[in-house]
């Protein structure tokens, strides 16, 4: 079973352009920040009280290149996302989803991303996925027994419209500002426990 899931990370990770993807899990925000290349619009409804911390983004990308949109509800959030995806002025759009998208909404986002050549990423709660998404990821941080520099995470691709599934342990390299795959899952001791 594991041999079937062996798929090269680089074919899936810089998320495919002109598509909308989904991510869930405890460090979904970290995943979103690490997939942003350069310049993004982050759409977050205005009633949410916790914030992104720009100093926390600093090792990942320059927070000056981030714009925040604070719509009042999800309808506005989706309208803003569609507008931004279609426009293409910002290459990446992150949308925090609070209620499940229906098929029409998901499809409209896909079409907008295709029109603008931009990448969209919906941060969803577990089980809120939409059928229209190109890929769906689960991101969880795992405890690193060996190293002090701990950005170790387990990224698992749970849905892929144009490829196979897979799971990787990755860490963020601050110097090169890139995601590095540590070693395939299943070959490290204790990885079965860490996946929970």
């Amino acid at each position: 079973m594991f041999s079937l899931m062996r798929v090269d990370f680089h074919t899936v990770f810089p998320l495919r352009r002109a598509r909308v993807h989904e991510v869930c899990g405890p460090v979904a925000m970290g995943f979103a920040a690490m997939s942003v290349g350069d310049g993004a619009l982050w759409i977050r409804e205005s009633w949410m009280s916790d914030t992104l911390m720009p100093q926390g983004l600093l090792p990942i990308f320059n927070p000056a290149r981030l714009l925040l949109a604070r719509p009042k509800d999800q309808t506005d959030a989706l309208a803003v996302a569609e507008e931004a995806l279609k426009d293409g002025a910002l290459p990446f759009v992150v949308i925090e989803i609070t209620r499940p998208l229906n098929l029409r909404e998901g499809r409209r986002l896909q079409l907008a991303a295709k029109a603008g050549g931009t990448t969209g990423l919906c941060i969803i709660s577990e089980g809120m996925g939409s059928n229209a998404a190109e890929t769906r990821w689960h991101a969880a941080s795992i405890f690193d027994t060996q190293s002090e520099d701990s950005t170790l995470m387990r990224w698992e691709i749970k849905k892929n419209k144009s490829g196979t599934l897979g799971a990787w342990n990755v860490r963020w390299d601050q110097k090169t500002r890139r995601v590095h795959v540590v070693s395939p899952v299943g070959e490290r001791p204790g990885s079965a426990r860490a996946s929970g």
């Binding site: 405890p26 925000m29 100093q55 927070p63 714009l67 604070r70 506005d76 293409g88």
Partner: protein, 473 residues
């Protein structure tokens, strides 16, 4: 034209008061009377009197604080009104206008008729007005301020020459009381004693030295409008008209090197109702092709009713926008600004924000969130120690020791501490009162749990307690 009671007349025009009325201005730490009406003057009050004294003299005095800015605007309005008599109208001090009526009096049937007309209109408007008409500007000022009837210029006191108070007093001590006395006196000693200003004023009043009236230009108004013979109702028609109005407006903005920041499209319906579409732009702009699509959303929401027969487009807020060389430069900032505007018309321009660095050690205050349309990006971020990606308001957990707890529960999940990095002590900023930091200094710990999650905890030693405030990626 001199309006001796400009400030009080302005207020009384809006709200008529029977009885004494005064405008007060605070100067040198005391309220002083700045302007007052005739009734108040009749009761013995004077300008410059302290307000407390005035209240003692006249207990039923009604007063208002002075608004010099509104007075200046009122005078500007009067200046504009006065252009009905002649095109050369300038302001004279804070409460006067000067008109160069040469060549325009015959339109009113002569000088006397024109003055009578001005006087009648001012009286109807409730303004106290004193007029002086003479061959020179200086003489007209003298007659307006000091003339009482039919005397000649040389009979007026020297104060009528627009001189400083000290000069006037000194001249009176010398026995030179009227302008005639001054004109007959030897010029050289006067210049030596009082400087060139005195004789300059005298010559200006006598007409030996010209003193032109400087008319003010009208501030440009960035508005266009169109009336239609037949009412329209289709969105495409309205957009087409908007495009036709936008082109001359943008040409005008271009001529003045201005850019519109806020545009209002007023659509007047056949039944006299009107609807407005307001457009706020993220950056000053004057390109019709780019502004037009931004109106689409607003126009589509308008209820045309029985049809629209007048349409007006106004740039209600403009900012300087110099002409720029176009060419190899990237167009991406423009595109981004357009996007911000388009999103802003839906969710409000203030709700599109960006992070700005802020100089503070307190995590919550180490960054500021500012509207993107009214700020510029700043990359001067500094961060000595790792900070979490998500920051939330502190959530207490049950733990008591000063060392990080080995096991704890947070958000209904139980965690085992795998590694604790810290502490990092952050002291409250005592100069800024903050309710959340009342509990004193905080020792921040970065906790890596065996379950995977990496949390930012802090301990308050002065007020023992543990809190979770953030989560790392």
């Amino acid at each position: 034209m001199w309006f001796p009671r400009l400030a009080s007349d302005r207020v009384l025009r809006a709200r008529l008061v029977d009885g004494p009325f005064a405008i007060t201005l605070k100067s040198n730490n005391t309220e002083r009377i700045y302007c007052l009406n005739e009734t108040a003057e009749g009761l013995g009050l004077t300008r410059g009197m302290s307000f407390a004294d005035a209240r003692a003299f006249c207990p039923d005095l009604i007063s208002q604080p002075a608004r010099p800015d509104l007075d200046a605007r009122f005078l500007a309005m009067l200046r504009r009104w006065a252009t009905r008599y002649c095109p050369w109208v300038g302001r004279d001090g804070e409460d006067g206008l000067v008109l160069d009526v040469t060549g325009s009096t015959h339109l009113w049937g002569g000088e006397a008729e024109m003055l009578a007309d001005i006087r009648a209109r001012a009286m109807r408007a409730g303004l106290t007005l004193r007029l002086g008409c003479a061959e020179t500007r200086g003489a007209a000022w003298a007659f307006a301020h000091y003339g009482t009837g039919t005397e000649a210029l040389s009979d007026l006191p020297v104060a009528a020459l627009r001189l400083a108070d000290t000069t006037v007093t000194a001249l009176q001590r010398l026995g030179l009381r009227s302008i005639g006395d001054l004109a007959e006196a030897a010029r050289a000693p006067l210049t030596r004693r009082f400087g060139p200003d005195l004789l300059l004023r005298l010559d200006q009043a006598m007409g030996h030295i010209p003193e032109p009236v400087r008319p003010e230009s009208e501030p440009p108004s960035f508005a266009t409008r169109m009336s239609l013979p037949e009412p329209i109702g289709l969105t495409e028609d309205v957009m087409g008209l908007t495009a036709r109005l936008l082109t001359p407006l943008c040409d005008k903005l271009n001529r003045y090197e201005m850019g519109a920041r806020r545009l209002t499209l007023t659509l007047r319906r056949v039944d006299q109702g009107s609807q407005q579409v307001e457009l706020r732009l993220a950056a000053p702009m004057r390109d019709p092709q780019r502004i037009l699509p931004l109106f689409e959303r607003g126009v589509s929401e308008v209820d045309a009713g029985f049809g629209i027969d007048q349409i007006r487009l106004e740039a209600t807020q403009v900012e300087p926008l110099p002409v720029q060389q176009i060419g190899s430069a990237q167009t991406s900032p423009d595109q981004l600004n357009d996007l911000i505007t388009r999103i802003g018309t839906r969710i409000g321009l203030e709700n599109i924000q960006r992070f700005l660095p802020s100089d503070s050690h307190i995590p919550e205050r180490s960054f500021a969130i500012a509207p993107a349309a009214f700020s510029t990006p700043d990359s001067a971020w500094s961060c000595l120690r790792p900070r979490p990606l998500r920051l939330f308001s502190p959530e207490p957990i049950a733990a008591h020791s000063a060392e990080p707890p080995a096991r704890f529960r947070w958000r209904r999940m139980s965690f085992t501490t795998g590694r604790a990095i810290g502490p990092e002590r952050i002291a409250p900023e005592w100069w800024l009162p903050d309710e959340a930091w009342r509990s004193g200094v905080r020792d921040y710990w970065r906790i890596e749990t065996r379950e995977g999650r990496r949390l930012w905890l802090y301990h308050t030693p002065q007020n023992p307690g543990w809190f979770v405030q953030g989560e790392f990626a």
